[in-house]
């Protein structure tokens, strides 16, 4: 059997799966991973038994408990999950350097060219499965196909656990015969239309002509290509941190206070900015992504002008706050805030603490990021000093006085 070389590793419900391994007592019982002592805490992850009872990820713990009387609430252990996630990655690196991190518990591997070292891709996938089981005790779904799309559909078919090495000849047929809702990109709006068209299987969608593809939706051609497993996107091994820097905070309880939201954005961006400057980069854009308490997501980016980038905290913070303000359009509490810095470019020479002439030009007064250049020049000198202190003693060594206003999400003075 000739198979593809793309492996998709999918650990469904990583947190809950880890908890089952750590505490076998919860296995087979409905439980959720959530912070039990926080008002308006949400379900971070859940066991299959809880899922069958109608509990969903993101649901308020109180609602989940009302729905399932015997529901057990397990406190989250982020460090442990991070460790397990790292173990998955390490297990993957044993077989190929081409590993793409597609989210917690999700990996894509390209094992092309490793046959001499590790054998056929099917063997690699099988060994990877064993390796993960040995290292973490987890049994993920592992799918092997020739494209990322086919591998992803296959892992959706076989989840929560299983091994699906598809042969190149068969994978088209397997994908084609799956319900169309398994295809990434088919959502609640498009599905009824496809059903009205009696397109119930991915294969039927794949058989549409160009005209038909365009007719079903503006994104129809993309979907049809995906349905045909036409997917030339490579496995991208670059660590996410090289492509962008991201940080997030989960509000528990969720947040309806614009000041607190802005402050958390500043906190995140300060940390990311430090890491970015340490690498000698500036960011071309700052993106704020909000997850509302009802699960809806909104994001906005603020970009620096052409050829410019955000370097100093003052620039980054102002951009982040603007992005947050623009993204927070609904009058709904925010559960999670994520800030991303991206579009990295070299930031130029590092400033000396007491050197009066920075690399910034005196003119114009307002730079392309919309912030006064002279003010930034002054701030950069302080920034440089602060970065040194943070580098030596940690982020908490020096914080803005305003940080003392907030303790656990509430204004204290």
């Amino acid at each position: 059997m000739t198979s593809g070389t793309i492996i998709h590793v999918n650990v469904i419900g990583l947190m809950a799966a880890v908890e089952e391994i750590v505490d076998p007592g919860v296995r087979g019982r409905p439980f959720v991973v959530a912070r039990p002592d926080i008002p308006r805490a949400i379900v971070l992850d859940l066991s299959p038994e809880a899922y069958r009872e109608g509990v969903r990820r993101g649901m308020l713990v109180q609602t989940a408990c009302a729905r399932v009387r015997a529901l057990k609430v397990v406190p989250p252990r982020p460090e442990l999950y991070e460790k397990v996630d790292q173990s998955l990655l390490e297990a993957a690196f044993c077989f190929t350097p081409l590993v793409e991190r597609a989210g917690r518990g999700h990996l894509f591997l390209d094992v092309n060219g490793t046959r001499r070292l590790f054998g056929a891709p099917e063997d690699v996938a099988r060994r990877l499965l064993g390796e993960i089981a040995d290292q973490t005790g987890l049994v993920p779904t592992v799918a092997l196909a020739s494209t990322k799309t086919a591998a992803k559909v296959a892992s959706r078919v076989f989840r929560p656990f299983g091994f699906a090495p598809l042969s190149v000849n068969d994978e088209g047929e397997l994908v084609a015969r799956q319900p169309v809702e398994l295809l990434p990109g088919v959502g609640v709006k498009l599905l009824p239309r496809l059903i009205s068209l009696e397109i119930g299987e991915i294969g039927t969608l794949a058989s549409l002509s160009m005209d038909e593809a365009q007719a079903i939706s503006a994104r129809g051609p993309e979907l049809v290509l995906r349905a045909r497993c036409v997917d030339d996107s490579p496995v991208n091994p670059e660590p996410p941190s090289r492509r962008m820097l991201a940080g997030e905070t989960v509000f528990e309880p969720d947040c309806a206070d614009p000041d607190l939201l802005a402050w958390r954005a500043r906190e995140i961006v300060a940390e990311l900015g430090f890491r970015m400057r340490k690498e000698g980069f500036g960011a071309h854009f700052v993106m704020a992504k909000l997850v509302y308490t009802d699960g809806a997501v909104a994001s906005r980016s603020v970009r620096a002008g052409q050829g410019a980038s955000f370097v100093a905290d003052i620039q980054l913070c102002e951009a982040a706050e603007r992005a947050v303000r623009q993204a927070w359009e609904r009058r709904v509490r925010v559960r999670k805030l994520q800030i991303e810095l991206g579009g990295f470019e070299p930031a130029g020479p590092e400033l000396d603490l007491f050197e009066p002439l920075p690399f910034f030009k005196a003119e114009p007064e307002i730079d392309s990021t919309g912030i006064q250049t002279r003010r930034i020049a002054m701030h950069m000198r302080v920034q440089s000093a602060l970065d040194r202190v943070h580098g030596k003693y940690g982020q908490s060594a020096i914080v803005p006085a305003a940080a003392f206003l907030y303790r656990e999400g509430s204004l204290v003075c």
Binding site: F161, P165, I216
Partner: protein, 1107 residues
């Protein structure tokens, strides 16, 4: 004492927290004998405030706080001219804000949102206020006092006898600066809160008004803490002991607590004494009675000089240049001759009697104006007590002959009645708005305004608004609401701390006014400018309304005319039009539906779904139980069926069926003989009060009115005492008084006068006659007008039970509305969900322009799907609606629905491309699709070809549920998995199982929750299966158990005992279980593709074990 000249009530909309009653109560308890109400930029609460002051014996002072970005000027009316100046000023400000889409009460624009138009409008409104107030200050006698603590305003505007520097107790830190402006000072307590904690309620209200979260409302938008009642009172006391007030320049309430007061204010003593004197002078001179005599609309004969603005000239009938009494007399006699053929003495006598009273009271113009308005509609129905008037009958305002049906004019008008008459007229619901618009056009926009509703927070709305201000998503709030509906106490107890705060605040704002809405049909027409009498503004929907609600305008003497919407008038109109299209003409002049035996028999059977006013389950059960359907009894039935009269209904049925009875008191024997000794009509309350307790006519009328008020509680106690004393004085036995009073109490809430019931019964008979003789046309009209009491699904089921065939919509055969002919109803295109008006209009245009197909000589039917797609523009979503509803089946020419849909979607895309692609976006999409060949890809799936597949009956029915809201050829229960297959009794066979315990499957079609005498909730539920509808009762114990399951409606298994009472059958529910919901199309089971482990093993794949 210093009168509080600056106070804010909750009618400072979405800012104030106190009701006027609370303010007045607090002021009275503090010993003040006068009180001003100065709400921000509005007078919404004035009538309520005047009422409250009257009740507590306080002297009301009428004012407004005109607030802008530059500060504020508190205006106090001194004369009626000054008061009119204020109403005009508020109306002008409202117009500026309304133009930008802002409500008149707007004080701040939305925070953090860039809305230039709103900011500019508010700035313009601020400027307007400034300029007008400055001009007023410069007048020699504006009829107003102006009190300002705005340094800018006081600096810019020259000194005037009417302008004062306001030293408010809430802003003591400003006093010294204000005293330096050179204007005369006036000292006043200021009250916005009863206690400082109410500031958080104010913050919530402000957040609701601005559409932001509470954390986004800064303190600067709120009143200072020192605007609390206790500080105002303490300040007042301090003023009395020597005006020794302190100032710590902090502006906070803390200044008051700082002692000793004398030492802090000794330097201002003389100024403050002068300011206190000014307070007393203003209190004495202020206007306390702003309202005067009644203001009627004025009628003017054609040809007369239009000297008085706001008058109306008749377009026919009355002749030119004649007076209103002469015109009314002429029209009344002409109309009577038309109605009666000749004019017998009884008719002449009645006409003369009524015209005499109408003329004497000066109401001729009012009748003539109503007469002009009703000419604008095809069908109307006069309602209320006006139906007792032969003049109304002659003019065509009502259709019930008051002589034939024994209706007494005195309930409508009598020589002793002091309040104005009230003529209410119903119009077809879809014509009402155009009639109102035409009325405004006819009388002039500057003379007319619709009556407002003061929309107050109810608990559910308050909870939702509060939750939003706390950032709660609507879905979560809905879930909480459902829990509250099920068990409020448990829901509150289990709530988390944030929700507890939300509940607490929601309860505090419940009952406070929120915004202005539009009364269902009240319109005020005045001879002069409407803004001279009442502030006017536009609601969110652009309708000009008064600032006061119906009670307020009544207090102000503004006589309203009610023009209301009625669906059944449209049903009768459409059914008659449908008959006309089918070649059947009714002689409406000779139409006497109330004399038709078939109609009477049908009403007696309770076969009246769709029939006006007698279609509710309770009414149909009453009809079945009584077994009578004649006009006289229908009038009784439609009056007796009211919430508080249950036990009298049972007694009535028994007496009707022959039970011996004797009157409670000999005096009452004759009064209520036609209703079997039971008080039935609203006027019976007055009659019994006069006859038994010796009340005067006006007192008897007052007790009738009190019974209809929401806040009747304490007032009713007073009348009860008087009734008991009066009756006892007339020698009535205590047990008889108790029994009669109990019967009077059954009129609490709402009840009807006989004339109203008779007028409505006539409309009931018209619609019942149509149902009895032309069921297809009638039910088509009911469906088109979205019925009344039931859903489309229930009416469709009833039509099927009546033996009618329901035909699907068709782009060639359907009109926009449903149409009946013979034994079939063709579904209307306008009833397909998701089709926009513009698309429907384009469709009608494309096939010839007439909404009814094949009527026009240029009818151009669609010959194919391609033809349709080429001639009618539609969106992708509308394409789904056309196909899903079956509207294109007749032109599909063998194509399956999927193929038709694909053809439409392609046409849609082609049209969009033809219209011009986006510069980059579409080009990008096209390039993405370039990989796809123009010919279909090799098909691998197990599904059949879309073009060849024939849509199954089940899929068609599911599509109909989605797009039409009902199935057409089968009952919706047939789509519920297992519903019809389970062992059960069919509803049509219930009458053969009386006393037995049965199981039924039923679709819930309506539910009515009531309270038992022990205040426990229970519910009457109506279900239907494929054979019949059936009534059920869910008693309190069952209600507690099964209520949650009922919330989402749908199909149920109902178990219970079959009961029979007077021939009507009900099921007393013992058990209730919800059946699965009808699956959506996307959820319908499809041929399962090989997947999962099964498929894996076929290909030799293996499933890993977890261990």
């Amino acid at each position: 004492m210093l009168t509080p000249l600056v106070t804010h009530s909750a009618y400072s909309l979405l800012w104030g927290v106190l009701t006027p009653q609370q303010l007045v109560e607090a002021a009275a308890s503090a010993g003040w004998n006068a009180l001003a109400l100065t709400d921000c930029n509005g007078m919404y609460g004035l009538p309520v405030f005047l009422d409250a002051c009257k009740e507590r014996g306080l002297r009301p002072i009428v004012g407004v706080e005109c607030t802008g970005g530059w500060g504020r000027v508190v205006t106090i009316a001194r004369t009626k001219e000054g008061f009119s100046r204020l109403t005009r000023l508020l109306s002008a400000r409202a117009a500026v804000l309304n133009e930008a889409g802002l409500p008149a009460y707007t004080r701040f624009v939305t925070l953090g949102r860039d809305n230039k138009q709103h900011s500019e409008a508010l700035a313009k409104a601020d400027t307007l206020l400034w300029c007008e107030l400055a001009a007023i200050a410069a007048m020699s006698d504006p009829g107003l006092f102006l009190l300002s603590d705005s340094p800018t305003f006081l600096r810019e505007v020259p000194c005037s006898p009417w302008l004062f520097a306001l030293l408010s107790t809430a802003h003591a830190s400003q006093w010294r600066a204000l005293l330096k402006t050179g204007h005369k000072p006036v000292l006043s307590p200021e009250i916005t809160f009863l206690e400082p904690g109410q500031r958080e309620v104010q913050r919530l209200l402000a957040a609701i008004g601005l559409g932001v979260t509470v954390r986004e409302v800064p303190d600067s938008m709120l009143a200072p803490e020192a605007a609390a009642f206790e500080y105002a009172r303490a300040a007042d006391n301090a003023g009395e002991i020597g005006l020794s007030l302190a100032s710590d320049n902090s502006g906070s309430a803390a200044w008051l607590a700082s002692a000793p007061l004398e030492s802090r204010f000794c330097d201002l003593e003389s100024s403050l004494a002068e300011a206190a004197t000014a307070n007393r002078c203003i209190t004495e001179e202020a206007l306390s009675e702003p309202f005067g005599d009644f203001v009627f609309p004025m009628w003017q004969a054609a040809g007369a000089t239009d000297e008085v603005a706001g008058t109306c000239a008749p377009n026919d009938g009355a002749g030119a240049g004649i007076s209103a009494p002469v015109a009314l007399r002429r029209l009344a006699y002409e109309g009577a001759a038309r109605r009666y053929g000749s004019l017998p003495p009884a008719v002449r006598e009645r006409l003369e009697y009524e015209l005499g009273i109408i003329e004497e009271k000066g109401f001729c113009d009012y009748f003539l104006v109503v007469n002009e308005i009703i000419k604008k509609a095809k069908r109307i129905c006069g309602r209320g007590s006006a139906a007792a008037s032969i003049v109304s009958y002659a003019l065509g305002i009502t259709d019930v002959d008051p002589i034939a049906h024994n209706l007494f004019f005195d309930r409508f008008l009598n020589p002793g009645r002091k309040d104005p008459p009230d003529i209410d007229v119903d119009f077809a619901w879809d014509e009402r708005d155009s009639v109102l618009e035409e009325t405004v056009r006819m009388f002039g926009a500057e003379h007319c305004a619709r009556v407002a509703n003061h929309n107050c927070f109810r608990f559910r709305g308050a909870l939702r608004d509060t939750a939003r201000a706390f950032g709660m998503p609507d879905e979560e709030t809905s879930a909480i609401e459902r829990r509250i509906e099920h068990n409020r106490d448990a829901a509150l107890a289990s709530a988390d701390s944030v929700w507890k705060d939300i509940f607490s605040l929601a309860i505090r704002i419940t009952g406070l006014p929120r915004n202005l809405g539009t009364h269902s049909g009240g319109i005020i027409i005045v001879p002069g400018n409407i803004a001279d009498h009442v502030p006017v503004e536009r609601t969110g929907s652009g309708i000009l309304v008064t600032a006061w609600d119906k009670d307020g305008v009544e207090d102000a003497g503004l006589v309203k005319i009610d023009l209301l919407g009625n669906r059944s008038l449209a049903v009768v109109r459409d059914a008659i039009q449908n008959l006309h299209e089918n070649g059947i003409e009714l002689d409406l002049e000779r139409w006497r539906p109330e004399e038709d035996a078939d109609t009477i028999a049908m009403i007696a059977r309770g076969d009246t779904m769709g029939v006006f006013y007698v279609e509710s389950p309770a009414m149909r059960l009453l009809q079945k139980k009584t077994g009578v359907g004649d006009f006289a009894h229908l009038v009784i039935h439609s009056s007796i069926i009211r919430p508080a009269a249950n036990r009298y209904i049972e007694e009535y049925i028994e007496r009707l069926k022959g039970k011996a009875w004797k009157p409670l008191h000999p005096v009452l024997a004759e009064l209520f003989s036609e209703t079997y000794g039971i008080m039935c009509y609203q006027e019976d309350v007055s009659k019994v009060a006069v006859a038994l307790a010796g009340f005067s006519s006006s007192d008897a009328d007052a007790i009738r009115k009190v019974l209809t008020k929401k806040d009747r509680g304490h007032r009713l106690e007073m009348w009860k005492q008087r009734f008991y004393e009066g009756s006892a004085a007339h020698g009535v036995a205590p047990d008889v008084i108790d029994a009669v009073w109990d019967m009077i109490m059954s009129f609490s809430g709402y009840s009807f006068v006989k004339a109203h019931s008779a007028s409505y019964a006539m409309l009931s008979f018209q619609s019942a006659w149509l149902r009895a003789h032309y069921p297809a046309e009638f039910m088509a009209a009911v469906l088109s007008n979205h019925g009344g009491f039931y859903s489309t699904l229930a009416y469709a089921s009833e039509a099927r039970r009546m033996g009618l065939e329901l035909l699907p919509p068709d782009v060639n055969e359907s009109a926009l509305r449903c149409k009946g002919k013979g034994g079939a109803i063709r579904w209307g295109l306008g009833m397909i969900a998701g089709l926009s008006e513009s698309t429907l209009k384009a469709l009608v245009e494309a096939r010839g322009g007439d909404t009814t197909p094949r009527r026009s000589s240029i009818f151009r039917p669609f010959v194919s799907v391609e033809d349709f797609a080429a001639r009618v523009p539609f969106s992708r979503e509308e394409a789904e609606a056309f196909v899903g509803s079956g509207a294109l089946d007749s032109i599909a020419k063998g194509m399956g629905r999927p193929a038709v849909l694909m053809a439409l979607l392609k046409a849609c895309t082609a049209r969009a491309r033809h219209a011009g692609p986006g510069l980059f976006e579409d080009a990008e999409r096209v390039s993405r699709g370039a990989h796809i060949s123009s010919t279909p890809h090799t098909r691998i799936s197990s599904e059949g070809s879309p073009s060849s597949s024939k849509t199954s009956e089940r899929r068609i029915a599911l599509s109909q549920m989605q797009w039409l809201g009902t199935t057409l050829s089968c009952h919706p229960l047939s789509l519920v998995p297992g519903a019809l297959q389970m062992p059960r009794l069919q509803a049509a066979a219930l009458d053969r199982h009386i006393g037995e315990y049965v199981r039924l499957a039923g679709w819930l079609i309506t539910a009515k929750e009531v309270l038992t005498t022990h205040e426990e909730p229970m519910e009457f539920l109506t279900f239907e299966d494929e054979t019949a509808s059936f009534e059920t009762v869910l008693f309190p114990a069952g209600y507690k158990q099964f209520r949650p399951a009922l919330l989402e409606g749908g199909a149920f298994v109902v178990e219970g005992r079959v009961e029979e009472s007077h021939g009507a059958i009900t099921v007393t529910i013992a058990a209730l279980r919800r059946l699965p919901a009808i699956p959506k199309l996307a959820e319908t089971p499809r041929a399962p593709p090989p997947s999962g482990f099964g498929y894996a093993s076929k290909f030799g794949y293996q499933a890993a074990s977890r261990n």
